[in-house]
């Protein structure tokens, strides 16, 4: 049985529903990241946000990127962040102020920023926006390893440097950290 074009009683399509759900989860998780008191919980919310983002990537047709998102962001960076949180936790626990004194102006600034972006985007006449186009992995692989070989190699050197730097910086005093 094929699904109907649009969801009955509601009016928009299944894709749209999926989109809205993923978007809602993502934004909700993001808000939790920036507003929760307990940092560990913030980290976990970040993971949820990344997951929703991966879903959005799939919806947009970039499946390889979605996979990379899960692997890299959720699998590596979030774990790294959680480790760092655990290494830098105050003994006193999370009872200090969450926000700085400038939180209120920052909130206003962010809101204005969002509004600006929205207006700009809506006002622009984007060409070629007929519908979503999926990205086949083979095409991606071909382009990545032929046209973008140099950036690929540079990125690997960058990652090497980051690893070495990170290890060096986070060493114990005997090594001479700043």
């Amino acid at each position: 049985m094929t699904l109907p074009e649009t969801i009955p009683f509601i009016g928009f399509g299944w894709d749209d529903l999926l989109f809205m759900m993923l978007a809602g989860v993502m934004l909700g998780a993001a808000l939790l990241v920036v507003t929760m008191r307990d940092i560990i919980r913030c980290g976990l919310a970040m993971i949820v946000c990344f997951a929703a983002l991966a879903g959005l990537y799939v919806l947009a047709g970039a499946t390889v990127v979605a996979g990379a998102q899960v692997l890299v962001y959720i699998g590596a960076i979030s774990v790294l962040v959680l480790f760092a949180i655990m290494l830098t936790q105050d003994k006193a626990g999370p009872n200090a102020l969450v926000f700085q004194t400038q939180a209120f102006p920052a909130a206003i600034a962010s809101a204005v920023l969002a509004v600006l972006i929205a207006i700009t985007v809506a006002a622009t006449d984007w060409p070629d926006a007929a519908g979503r186009i999926a990205t086949p992995a083979t095409a991606l692989a071909e382009t990545l390893f032929s046209d973008y070989t140099l950036p690929f190699e540079v990125v690997s050197v960058l990652l090497l440097a980051a690893v070495i730097g990170g290890v060096f910086l986070a060493k114990r005093e005997r090594g001479g950290s700043d």
């Binding site: 993001a30 970039a62 962040v81 290494l87 969450v98 809506a122 007929a130 690893v163």
Partner: protein, 110 residues
Amino acid sequence: MLGALNGLSQSLDAYLILAGILFAIGSFGFLARRNAISMLMSIELMLNAVNLSIIAFGAFSTSLNVDASVIALIVMAAAAAEATVGLAIVIAIYRNRKTPLVDEYDAMRQ
């Protein structure tokens, strides 16, 4: 009324506005949180928003399709590297200052 939302996932504007809102949330977190790690998490959010907008452009444009994914991958790699080094720095400062709260780092203040 909800019928107006029909075709949302087919519109570039939706993705872009979504990315914009995520970016704004990230910037709020960056400007307003006291803990250094929270600031780094907010930076990750902002980077992800940028990634989303890149992918969105790629999804709605034939010529940019593949390149957008490549760029997104490279941005992801750069974000990972930056997160690594940033967290290492935060740990190092924490060892010295015994606090992860950035408004208590005032050695260079009058």
